[in-house]
Symmetry: C2
Subunit: 474 residues, 2 copies
């Protein structure tokens, strides 16, 4: 597949030419060469700057065509007016992959539009594929590679991003991207091409798509459908509103369609849509951490009746079901609770279950374990949401730390997700739960429920596709 | 006003009787007496426990009627079966305010329902008002008072809460409640009574309502309307869904009405509804920090086009307007940007505004200041949303710290809120911005927009009410 080879030249180049890289290598100079050295990039680097003989110890060339070896990836850092000539030189050199950093093309004035047409025309004659313009290019933390002007922290995470904006290169609040592709104004390389790279890439387990618009709708549909059968794709689609669409057009120059069409396409292709940055992060963490949520039935355990009610509301809103527990689970819970504290059921009231032994915190962990494992064992649950305050913030310390209980339960019942919402001030329990690698702590009860619902949505997509393929085989 | 005097006995008692307080004073004993000593409660405390002569140095009584002085507040900590007799003794003693901690009443079986009816009957004959049952009672951090079993951190914050659940006593993630009322199963003291306390309470500037149901709808309507004219009320209303309503009924035994009715009542009374715990916290912080948002026009400044598009979407969703900036503002911005980087406008692209001087970070703060102050000065903005990544997490340190710029701008333009969304990993900028006391940092662009929209909703409620009152005066 030709596009895959091209994408590998972008993402895993053996040699890079930096066209127009500055001699200024101060700490605030946004110098790509300096960044690559800092990251420990292993391939060959060729600075191109007619005013320099060498930069940071690297021999500088006047023209890319002078370089005696093949170039996989070239990055053009010069202003827009000079770009067509530089592109022409790259095609003559036979460069496979080209990043154009500058903005001021189709997103700008008539001169910019003309320049962009010229660039495309030149590129089409050669075998050079173009990313951008108006892009930071690519990040591949597994190879110490970033073509972005600012220096970011690179981290080898299993999360990829395809965006139309360099801002995603900084990562989300608590998630860095191991590989990032900024398709920018998308004059050539687009979502479908970028998805092709991630399809069989073993480093990356989840891919975030930041989308404003798609030019090749059919291509996106086919690739998204293929890739989301192999790994979850999460979309942060903006330009939802009429005015947002106009803003998006001026930002990337791309054609932005009706929001409802995107909703339908995402549903059909198994892409999970996130409403905002925080939800995108919640979903990425959930897909990385949890086993599949195989059904819609949910067990809820809560330290307070109120947060149980809030969670039940959220389940109805997001399509999960809080159904009756089995007789044996109820028997187990009944043994813990004072007889007058009715009704027993789902949600399970942890506070009530501490009641029989007189709220002795020394018993809390054991009682939490009994309830959690009963809910996981119950055939009437496909996953569990637990809501407790973080009393580690107060004076109870080790008595309240249920992280070991959660880790053991998750290992004993590896087929059901256990999601947490920690109510109130944080005293360290969130970190302890995160350290288990077995659960995700959400900022509200509803966010926990929503994540499990989206997990189930993805599971249903994949299994339905498999059934469809099997039926086609018969 | 009689109810206000009663509520002061709950919230500001000179004397407390703890009926059934345990002799067990271990660190995990949930001992209210021990907690009150820890908090430094200044009033008189009378433990009542027939099995003890003294507890923690306090003389213990067998019966509340033996106490030689008046009792403002009594807390009954005994199991449900004993509660009616204890209530009777309290009415005979002439206690004004009574908290019943135990659960297992109207929320439970027939015996519980019968017990509750008995309690109400007894109370109605005397002058004793009852909070609960199934409650943690009250917190007043300004007086070192908490009647809750677990020990919480008390903090003299300007935030109050009226809830139907003790879990709110722990606070929200980053907000503690200076005063808290848990009306529990609400057999007597209800939302209207509790709101009456907060109406002219100078300690409390914002009140959160956690609501599952209201028994006295008319009373709530009148008090909510009165109080929200004086300070913002934020409602976290659960029991939205059919099944959530059933769960709420079993939790507090209260009658839970159609969700649409609550929406209408909130709108009419100026109560701001929050969807989840995180939004409630966002709104509380916003009301405490920002000046009123007097109109719907918003100026957006963003480090990336993409987050501008996301913010514009959010404005349309939440009813704010991203309109054209005035000519003088555009001129100011034009001077900063390379001429080919069109179009100039709202949102303002900070990255582009750094372009003319070649992305020198040394100029970043000055350029940020020019844009921010131009947006604040512009007649076409009633507030500003700024979106930037936190490059303090990388290597830029002090060059990226715009907290002083924000503080000065907020002081220069004290009538417009400046909201932030920080994109990506946090490197300390959020804390620096928080320390200014002039802005709030939100977890996504949409959350920032939503908060400003709700601020404007409240402003419009208050000014419309004032206009209505003026019209009635004429």
């Amino acid at each position: 597949m030709e596009i895959l080879e091209k994408m590998r030249c972008f993402m895993e180049p053996e040699s890079i030419a930096l066209i127009g890289v500055s001699r200024n290598t101060d700490s605030d100079s946004f110098n790509v060469l300096k960044n690559l050295i800092h990251y420990g990039f292993q391939g060959k680097i060729y600075p191109i700057n007619p005013k320099a003989n060498e930069i940071l110890g690297f021999k500088a060339y006047t023209d890319i065509r002078e370089i005696p070896e093949d170039i996989d990836l070239a990055v053009i850092i010069t202003p827009r007016g000079t770009v067509p000539d530089r592109v022409k030189e790259c095609t003559e050199k036979g460069v496979s992959a080209l990043v154009i950093i500058a903005q001021g093309f189709a997103d700008s004035d008539n001169e910019g539009k003309m320049l962009q047409e010229k660039v495309i025309e030149i590129a089409r004659k050669g075998k050079t594929r173009i990313m951008g313009p108006n892009t930071f290019g690519v990040i591949n933390a597994y190879r110490g590679l970033s073509t972005a002007l600012p220096r970011f922290e690179l981290a080898k995470t299993p999360v990829g991003v395809i965006s139309q904006s360099g801002i995603f290169f900084v990562g989300l609040s608590n998630i860095m991207f191991g590989k990032a592709i900024d398709i920018g104004d998308c004059c050539d390389i687009d979502f479908a091409d970028s998805l092709a790279y991630f399809e069989d890439d073993n480093d990356i387990k989840v891919v975030l798509l930041h989308m404003e618009g798609v030019s090749d709708g059919q291509g996106f549909f086919e690739m998204a459908n293929r890739v989301s059968n192999k790994k979850p794709l999460i979309a942060l689609k903006s330009g939802r509103s009429e005015i947002g669409r106009i803003a998006a057009q001026s930002h990337t120059g791309s054609i932005v369609g009706k929001d409802e069409i995107y909703d339908a396409v995402f549903k059909e292709t198994g892409v999970i849509r996130a409403n905002d940055e925080e939800e995108a992060e919640d979903l990425i963490k959930s897909f990385l951490t949890f086993p599949p949520m195989k059904g819609k039935k949910i067990g809820v355990m809560t330290w307070a009746g109120s947060t149980g009610v809030i969670t039940v509301d959220a389940c109805e809103k997001h399509g999960l079901k809080v159904i009756d527990l089995s007789g044996s689970t109820l028997d187990m819970i009944r043994k813990l609770s004072p007889p007058s504290w009715l009704p027993l059921g789902n949600p399970v009231d942890i506070w009530a279950c501490m009641g029989l032994k007189g709220f002795n915190l020394a018993n809390f962990r054991d009682e939490f374990k009994i309830i959690l494992e009963a809910l996981l064992a119950d055939e009437n649950s496909d996953g569990v949401v637990a809501i407790i305050p973080d009393f580690l913030v107060l004076f109870y310390s080790e008595l309240w730390d249920i992280s070991t209980v959660v880790k053991e339960a998750a290992e004993k019942y590896p087929n059901k997700p256990i999601a947490f919402s920690i109510f109130g001030p944080k005293g360290g329990l969130t970190e302890k739960l995160n350290e288990t690698g077995k659960t995700v702590v959400f900022n509200s009860c509803e966010k926990a429920v929503n994540a499990l619902a989206k997990l189930n949505e993805y599971y249903e997509f994949v299994t339905t596709q498999v059934d469809r393929l099997k039926a086609e085989d018969c």
